[in-house]
Structures are given as C-alpha cells and as structure tokens.
C-alpha cells in the first residue's frame, strides 16, 4: 500500500490523518475491547471469589459442642445464675485458647435445669435478671421476659433463646450458640 507514484502518496498521507480504514479500525477496536475484558477478568474473576469468601465460610467460630459451665449444685431453685462460657475460638487465622465467647443464664425450676443465651433476641444487648420482680429485663429497649423465658412486655420479637443443656455426673454443660436477632423465629448464625 506504500507503493505508487507521488500523487498516490499524497492521497495516502491525506487519508492517514483522516480516520483509518474503517473495517480495520473496527476490528482493532473490537480486539482491544475483547482483550481488555479478558485482562480484567484474569484478576476480577478470582477476586470475586476471594472477596466473598466469608459469605460461604465460617471465619469466626468457637464453642462447638457442649461446654462445661459449672456443678449442678451451684444452681438453686428459682434463682437464675449467669455463667460465662469459655471456649477455644477460631478467628480467621488465629486459634485462641479458652476465651469468653458469651454468657448463659441457668435457671432451675421444678428441679429441672434450663439454659438461655444472655443475648436479647430483640437487638443483641445483654439482659439482666431483676430478682424483685422475678423477670429478665433488657436495659437497651426495655424488653421483659418471665423466668421461663417468655416475652412479658416490650419490643422482643420472640422468647429468650434456649440452649441445649446436658447434666452428667453432677456437672452442667451447655451447647452455646448465637442466633439472629430481630426476627420472630430462632435461627442459628
């Protein structure tokens, strides 16, 4: 295309400053776009899986299974007692031994022991027991619960979250779990 006489040459110069041959121009543009998308995808595709890793994997875990919380004799009839739950915790790359992962109210009524998470199902504050009125009260938004864990007033969407409890050889263990707050149903998170 570079051959030709002086006149042709002049024409070519004029054309080269104007838009190039439109078919070539189009193909190159498509090529640039296609390769560009491919180059971005090399990083973007794995990055999407990488960034969203916590959606499909537990990154912070602790207290799987039953954790001992005390002797049976420590829990007296009609006197709820708050105990701390200690367990080994996994936090991403760390393994932390015996850290406090939460606390649990243990209640003996009619001789039978029950365990409730101390996390208020309303919005996740920790509630307290008020011995004068024999009710649990959450200090954040005034949710009230009976000693059986039922809602007695306030904004709580569901009863207190009961936890599995195991009594063996005079020792009490609970299966500590956390639940979604603010919902009418109890869902493990």
């Amino acid at each position: 295309m570079a051959s030709g006489d002086e006149k042709d040459r002049g024409n070519l110069v004029a054309r080269s400053v104007a838009p190039e041959d439109s078919r070539r121009h189009f193909l190159k543009t498509v090529g640039i776009g296609g390769i560009g998308v491919g180059l971005a995808a090399v990083v973007a595709a794995p990055a999407a899986a990488y960034v969203t890793y916590p959606l499909g994997h537990a990154t912070v875990t602790g207290a799987n299974g039953f954790v001992p919380v005390g002797k049976s004799t420590s829990f007296k009839e009609g006197q709820p007692l708050k105990v701390d739950v200690f367990a080994d915790k996994r936090d991403a790359w760390n393994r932390i031994l015996q850290v406090k992962v939460g606390s649990v109210w243990i209640i003996r009524k009619g001789g039978k022991l029950r365990a409730f998470s101390s996390v208020c199902p309303h919005l996740g504050c920790a509630f307290d027991y008020e011995p004068e009125v024999k009710e649990f009260k959450c200090p954040c938004h005034n949710a009230f619960y009976t000693i059986d864990g039922q809602v007695a007033g306030g904004p709580a969407p569901r009863p207190m979250d009961e936890l599995e409890l195991e009594e063996k050889d005079g020792k009490v263990a609970v299966h500590y779990q956390r639940f979604r707050t603010g919902t009418a149903t109890k869902e493990v998170v």
Partner: protein, 572 residues
C-alpha cells in the same frame, strides 16, 4: 447516548480527554517496541489492584503477618492465585522495565528534547526496586526475614548508614515496627511516589511523542498512525502475552512460596529475589572494607552512566552505528548483569549443602502451613509449631516425666532413658547391662534381671535375639529380618531362657514384663496409667500411676511420642 456524552462533555470535556489519549499521532506508524511503557502501566495498575486485594486479608504485625498470609494463601478461595500473580508480577515489572530502558536507549530516545522523559523514567526504577525490597518482608516468613536482615545490614554498613538502618527498621532489630514501616512504604509511600512520577513521565511522553525510526520525513508522514486504535492494539496484544506468561507461571509454581514463620534464632540460607542476584554476587567479591564498592560504587556508577546518557551521547544522529560508545556501554552492563546472575545460580547449584538446606527449608515451610490450618496461637511467630502434637507431647513429657526419664539429652536418671526407646540398639544395650544408669540402674526396685555379657551371650546370638524381640514388640516398626527373628525365637525359649521371666503371649504373666507389643502405643499408655499390672512390671513397679494425674488424651499423646522413638532414626 449522544445526549449523555454531550452532557458530560459540557461539564468534564470528556471528548478533549479522549482525544488527548487517543489521537496522538505516531510518525512512521504503530510499533510493538513502543508498547513496553504501556505494558508497564498495565502491570503497575494490576499490581496495585492485587495489592489492595491482598491487604484486605493481611495483618502487618510480627505476630499476625505470617498466619494471615498463610490464611489468605491456603484457605481463602483463589488467594494463592492472586498472591502468586502479585509475586510474579513484580518480576514482570522488573523485566519490562529493563526492556523499556534498553529499547529507549538503543533507539536514542533519551536525546534532546526528551532528556526529562529519560530521567523521570530512570528515577522510577528506584520505587520499583523499593517495592521489591519492602514486599519481600511482608509475609514475615524465614526467607523475607533473613533477606531483609541482609539488606538492612548492607545499609547499616555504609558510611553514615547505621542511624538510617535504625530509622528504616524502627529500632536496632527487626520487629513489629520494621513490618509496619515496610508496610507503610509498600502500600502508601512507594505507590504515591511511583504514580506521581508516572504522571510526569506520561505527560512528557505525550508532549514530545514517540521517537520515530530514522526514516525520511516523507515516509514517516506517509506511515503515520494514531495511538487509538493502532498502537493501543499492539499494546493490549503485548499485555495479553505478558498476562498469559504470568498466569502460566503462577499455575506452574502454585503461586508464591511461603516458608516457615520468621524465627530470629534459627539460621536460614536466604537468597534475594533473582533480580537482586547481581548485587548479591558482587558482595562475594567485595568483602570487609571494600564492601561499599559492591554495594555503592558499582551500582552508583551504573546509575550515573544511564542518567548521563543524554550528555555522554555526542553523536550527530540517532543511528546506532554512530553511537557505538553508548551501545558498547549498554552491552557491557547487560552482559555483566547476566554473567553475575548466572554465576550466583551456578554457585548455588553446585553447593550441595545449600541445596540440602533449601529442601529442608521448603519442607519446614510446608509443615508449618499444614499445622496452620488448625489456627495459629495469638503469640504468633513460630507458635504455629505448637499445633504439632509432638510439641504438645514434649511439653507434657517435660512436666510429668522428665524428673525421672530422659528424652533427647534432657531429664533425670531415676528411670530408663527413653531416647530411641526399644530400637535395636536400645534392646541390645539393655540386655547387655540392664543395671546401667541408662536403663534400670537408677531405679530402686528393678534389679532382678542379670546382665548378659559377651562371653555368655556372644554378639552372634544377641543379634537374632534382638531381631526377634523387635519383631514382636509392635506393628508398623518397619522391615524385620524374618530368618534372623526365627533364630532369635529359638534362643529366647531354649538357649538363653528369657521365657523363664518374660512371656510373649498377650495377657500372660511372669516375673518380668510380658514382651508382646511392648513398644506399642497401647503398651506404653498402660505403663503410664499403671505399671503395676501383673503382665507389666507387677510388684516391682516403681513408677507412679498417672491414670488420675493425666487425661486419657494426654496419656495417648505421651505414648505416641515415646512409641515414635522406636522407629526414630537418630535424634529428633
């Protein structure tokens, strides 16, 4: 669409911006050799994106760094790929930088009026190498830690370098502050410096345009093309090629290596990244007081030569033939670099000791990474090895057993030494002299068995006997010479009469311990629980019972540790 573009153009002049980017004219047309700079921009941007992704899981502290890198590399989806790409990407940046500098120099593109293009480009090599030096340390693994020790020591040994080293390290030793400083340099300071220089460089390139080939003006004019799409097309093709190489490299190496966590008390055969090998090799020739020649004078002279090119080059034209001193200088530099790299690699390749050390280092790294899957204790560093059941068992041994028993040169002599417990040598020695301090000599009650001296039991008989004992004392103890063991069985029952005191059928009792599976984990665990069972040591048992002192789990760990001694070939 047009309305939107018009709207944007009125407010942000996007057409002018596009035109600035796309419409630059290239006299003589698009060329692949103009693409090195664009590929470098692509790589630097890709490195930045990858760096941001890595930083989203990385924790720059001496206790956390290694574990967080292990986590993002081995546990987070695709983390190994992104980290590998970032690692190899740094090599690609160095390679492309060298190619870019070479093509610019050979084309004489540094000449008037582009002296500042050339200098601004050369200056960028400093942050590029800075990225490599600082990034190397961030995983806080053995390699990064020890390579950084060398780099900062070089700085410290230069005239006036000692306070600089303290400043860079954040103290007299490598630690948390070194990591936070290197991290800050790597992710804030150096990127700002590099992108700032890059902006200046690109503005100058846009101002002066490319340096066209040495052709008649008319031909240059005739073949003239615009940046978009002609040159950009070449650019993305070379980017695609680079990216393909990087992806293949990342897959074939399974990402970047991660060695065991930094252990300041260990010794590690550190090597720098390959592009620092010329400097590393120079250090071998310039030792002691002349070291600064290798670390400062030669690299300084090289930098001065390159920076001075626009003024050294006095040729009439850019034709290579007229610029022989420049071309020769570049050839000398490049061959020097290649020779030094080759020599460094060759030295290592023929150094068997080094090769062995490298293999051991890689294995230690893999073991650490395997152990890290259970989570690393918050004290960090080499705490990952605490996850090794052997380490936990050794701690138990120290607490519960070491007062009386010795293991690997540490412990008491009141009870048998358990190093290499019941391997063939141990068994031979105990038969020869059970009253030795190594065996029952330190105990108060185990005095019944008589020594068998060589005159009563020649080595020719001892050997089969030991082979027999070895063969019955557990499963999985490795190959046994069956013929020898059969001879030993006869000796045991008839000639030597061991069976007067020792039974070999499970559960049967006699004066001495039953020897069936007597080096197995189960047997050892029973001894730890209560050694006074009738088929064990019975009435003469002097070892306290541990069944109430240790949990089943702990007893099992200890038994495993002792049992592992039997097949442990020398030391631990």
């Amino acid at each position: 669409m047009k309305a939107l573009v018009d709207w944007l153009d009125d407010r942000a002049s996007i057409r002018a911006v596009w035109s600035w980017f796309a419409d630059q004219e290239l006299p003589g047309g698009a060329r692949l050799r103009y693409s090195f700079g664009s590929v470098l921009v692509f790589l630097v941007v890709q490195q930045a994106v990858l760096g941001i992704l890595l930083a989203s899981y990385y924790s720059p502290s001496a206790t956390d760094a290694w574990a967080s890198v292990e986590y993002l590399n081995d546990q987070v989806t695709a983390g190994w790929f992104l980290r590998g790409l970032h690692h190899h990407g740094s090599s690609a940046v160095v390679v492309l930088t060298v190619l870019h500098i070479l093509q610019t120099a050979l084309a004489g593109a540094y000449r008037k009026p582009r002296e500042l293009n050339w200098l601004s480009g050369l200056v960028m090599a400093a942050p590029v190498l800075g990225f490599a030096l600082t990034g190397y340390l961030l995983p806080w693994d053995q390699k990064g830690y020890w390579a950084t020790q060398v780099a900062t020591s070089i700085l410290g040994s230069m005239p006036g370098g000692a306070p600089l080293r303290v400043l860079l390290q954040g103290g007299t030793e490598c630690g948390n502050l070194t990591l936070t400083r290197f991290f800050t340099l790597h992710v804030f300071v150096l990127p700002i410096a590099l992108f700032g220089l890059l902006a200046v460089h690109i503005a100058l390139v846009k101002k002066h345009g490319v340096t066209p080939p040495e052709l008649p003006k008319a031909e240059l004019e005739l073949k003239k093309q615009r940046y978009f799409p002609s040159q950009l097309f070449w650019d993305v093709l070379l980017m695609a090629l680079t990216s393909c190489v990087l992806v293949m490299l990342t897959f074939s190496t399974h990402g970047a290596t991660l060695y065991a966590p930094a252990q300041p008390a260990s010794n590690f055969q550190a090597r720098p990244e390959w592009y620092f090998l010329p400097l590393f090799q120079l250090l071998k020739y310039f030792e002691g007081p002349t070291q600064f020649i290798g670390t400062a004078v030669i690299p300084g002279a090289l930098a001065a030569f390159l920076a001075g090119l626009p003024w050294i080059d006095r040729a009439q034209s850019r034709k290579m033939g007229e610029r022989m001193p420049v071309v020769a200088g570049l050839a000398v530099i490049m061959s020097g670099i290649i020779v030094l790299i080759t020599m460094a690699l060759h030295d290592d390749a023929k150094d068997l000791k080094y090769q062995k050390a490298v293999i051991a280092q890689v294995h230690e790294g893999m073991r650490a990474r395997e152990l890290a899957k259970a989570g690393v204790l918050p004290q960090g560093g080499d705490a990952v090895f605490e996850n090794d059941p052997q380490v936990a068992a050794r701690r138990l041994f120290k607490d519960s057993c070491e007062n009386c028993h010795t293991l690997d040169d540490s412990g008491g002599e009141e009870a048998p030494n358990l190093t290499q417990f019941k391997d063939r040598e141990w068994l031979s020695a105990v038969i020869r002299n059970p009253h030795d301090k190594r065996f029952f000599g330190g105990t108060k009650t185990h005095k019944e068995m008589e020594p068998y001296a060589a005159k009563d039991l020649p080595d020719a008989k001892l050997k089969p006997l030991v082979e027999y004992l070895y063969s019955i004392q557990g499963d999985g103890l490795g190959p046994v010479d069956a013929v020898l063991a059969a001879q030993g069985q006869k000796l045991f029952a008839d000639d030597v009469d061991c069976n007067t005191c020792h039974e070999v059928k499970p559960g049967e009792t006699s004066d001495g311990p039953n020897l069936f599976h007597a080096a197995s984990k189960e047997w050892i665990a029973r001894v730890i629980r209560d050694s006074s069972a009738p088929d064990l040591f019975g009435k003469v048992a002097s070892m306290p019972s541990f069944k109430r002192k240790l949990s089943d789990d702990d007893i099992s760990k200890l038994a495993e540790l002792i049992a592992s001694q039997t097949t442990n070939k020398g030391g631990s």
